[in-house]
């Protein structure tokens, strides 16, 4: 994962999803609907990060395809999550996955800060 500048500017947060800087709705898995995070427990932040794609092109062997992701819910304590999986560590990060169907990465966990970040584009709001 490549580092990018971190901004905590929440000025242009999506109003239908974010209220008082927190997730207004329950965060669920896009694929199986498993509950990942309850409402108002993730802090909306903007930061540019590269995340591996959820569906990798298997024809490109040994090459991980990433995409840039900007919007995240920041969760300080991992036990705040309802259901979540943590992968083994890769370069100081663990990737987050759905605890029920293993879809992911839905975000990442920073081994240094011990904070988790869930990508808004990788989950469903309900």
């Amino acid at each position: 994962m490549s580092e990018a500048e971190i901004t905590t500017n929440t000025g242009d947060s999506p109003n239908d999803l974010v209220e008082n800087g927190l997730n207004k709705l329950v965060v669920k898995c896009k694929y199986c609907g498993s509950k990942i995070l309850d409402k108002k427990l993730g802090k909306y932040i903007l930061q540019e990060k590269e995340l591996p794609l959820m569906q990798q092109d298997t024809r490109k062997e040994g090459e991980i395809q990433n995409e840039k992701v900007n919007q995240f819910y920041h969760v300080e304590n991992m036990f705040t999550f309802d259901n979540i999986g943590f992968t083994h560590t890769v370069d100081c990060y663990k990737y987050l996955s759905c605890a029920d169907c293993d879809a992911g990465p839905v975000g990442y966990y920073d081994m240094n800060s011990k904070h988790s970040y869930v990508a808004l584009s990788r989950i469903e709001h309900a």
Partner: protein, 203 residues
């Protein structure tokens, strides 16, 4: 300040020979599930699951051995803080069942002595390849005073139930401990009034 979103936190471990399906219990590879190549390549270290038991919100943190068992290097550090252990064998593999006794010894040596255990006979969807009868599984569990269940990670049989039962057993135990602690405190508080007046007996 962040508010606490749960009442209790239980750390649970999966133990057993390699190939019995521990990783599948944690990481459900199956046809109807969406599994990305990326996540399956890296592998799952642990999961956090939330269950509600008797009105209490309980977070389970479930760990896999990550293949340590292959090198017999499961030691105190892996067991540290564990409150529950799922001891898994494969009903289609005799040796994995025989090794349950070895694993029980390993747990006795390294884990907290009051850790709650449960034996799982996994792969119960493979009836045609079964070599360990359910009765033998029940017998060994009875012998050691442990709960027992047959499961199939592949067909998703009894997996959630097994975790809820183990969590419930830990909850029962911790409730007992709380009561004991209260009892002990009361006893200590009462002691001074009951104690005979101090007197010098060997002046």
């Amino acid at each position: 300040m962040a508010k606490k979103t749960y009442d209790l936190l239980f750390k649970l471990l999966l133990i057993g020979d390699s190939g019995v399906g521990k990783t599948c219990i944690l990481f459900r590879f199956s046809d109807n599930h969406f599994t990305t190549t990326f996540i399956s390549t890296i592998g799952i270290d642990f999961k956090i699951k939330t269950v509600e038991l008797r009105g209490k919100k309980i977070k389970l943190q479930i760990w896999d051995t990550a293949g340590q068992e292959r090198f017999h290097t499961i030691t105190t550090s892996y067991y540290r803080g564990a409150m529950g252990i799922m001891l898994v064998y494969d009903i289609s593999n005799e040796k994995t069942f025989d090794d349950i006794v070895k694993w029980l010894r390993n747990i006795d040596e390294h884990a907290n002595e009051d850790v709650e255990k449960m034996i799982l006979g996994n792969k119960c969807d493979m009836e045609e390849k079964r070599v360990v009868s359910k009765e033998r599984g029940e017998a060994i569990a009875r012998e050691h005073g442990i709960r027992f269940m047959e499961t199939s990670a592949k067909s998703n049989i009894n997996i959630d139930r097994a975790f809820s039962e183990l969590a419930e057993a830990i909850l029962d135990k911790s409730a007992g401990r709380e009561a004991d602690a209260d009892h002990a405190r009361i006893a200590v508080e009462r002691r001074p009034s009951r104690a005979p007046p101090a007197r010098a007996c060997c002046s």
